[in-house]
Symmetry: C2
Subunit: 116 residues, 2 copies
């Protein structure tokens, strides 16, 4: 599956821009954030284009659940499951959303601040 | 469905402890956080007991997706969709997990800090 997302994530999914991929299957890719906020900072991105979580609907329910399970598995793979980690969707300016293509942050590897 | 969760969330689900509920169906409840980190701070909680996101498995995929969709709907209902909001699972000490019963934070209504 490819995407027509006109964002850096769309370019990465189509192989038009580089990224350090840590996971890929038919539905998702996961990459390292190029501006990590913690020792481990990954992004889980659906190949199908959804702008942000506010645009997700019933038809995306399984995909969203899979994003969480893949995020948790990647945390396990990165060795941060025991210490702890955070899975976060940002939506809109108040949350600091930068790229308008849905992505789940997987953040950990160190003590994190408050989630707000 | 009830839960055998021996946490404050278990007590709230069973009606043994008070909370300001903003949503309830067969699978989930949502309440206002009693120590809000922002103007809007809700928690979406599955009635079935899952300790945290690291304990979720394939059988929970739809439930996790539903938690995201309900979180996004509640943000819409609270009038914070346009400004923006954050949906967050914390897992473990590094992320500041306090109650060992899975819960999704819905946080917004004001400019938020970094998610780490």
């Amino acid at each position: 599956m490819t995407t027509d997302s006109d964002t850096i994530f769309g370019k990465i999914i189509r192989g038009e821009a580089p990224a350090e991929k840590v996971f890929e299957d038919d539905d998702l890719i996961a990459i390292r954030d190029i501006n990590p906020l913690a020792k481990v900072h990954l992004l889980v991105i659906p190949k199908t284009f959804i702008r942000d979580i506010s645009q997700a609907n019933e038809s995306h329910k399984e995909l969203l659940g899979k994003m969480m399970l893949v995020g948790a598995q990647l945390a396990r793979d990165e060795g941060i499951e025991n210490g702890g980690y955070r899975l976060t969707f940002n939506c809109g300016d108040d949350a600091g959303l930068l790229v308008p293509h849905l992505h789940l942050h997987v953040i950990g590897g160190q003590k994190l601040g408050a989630p707000a």
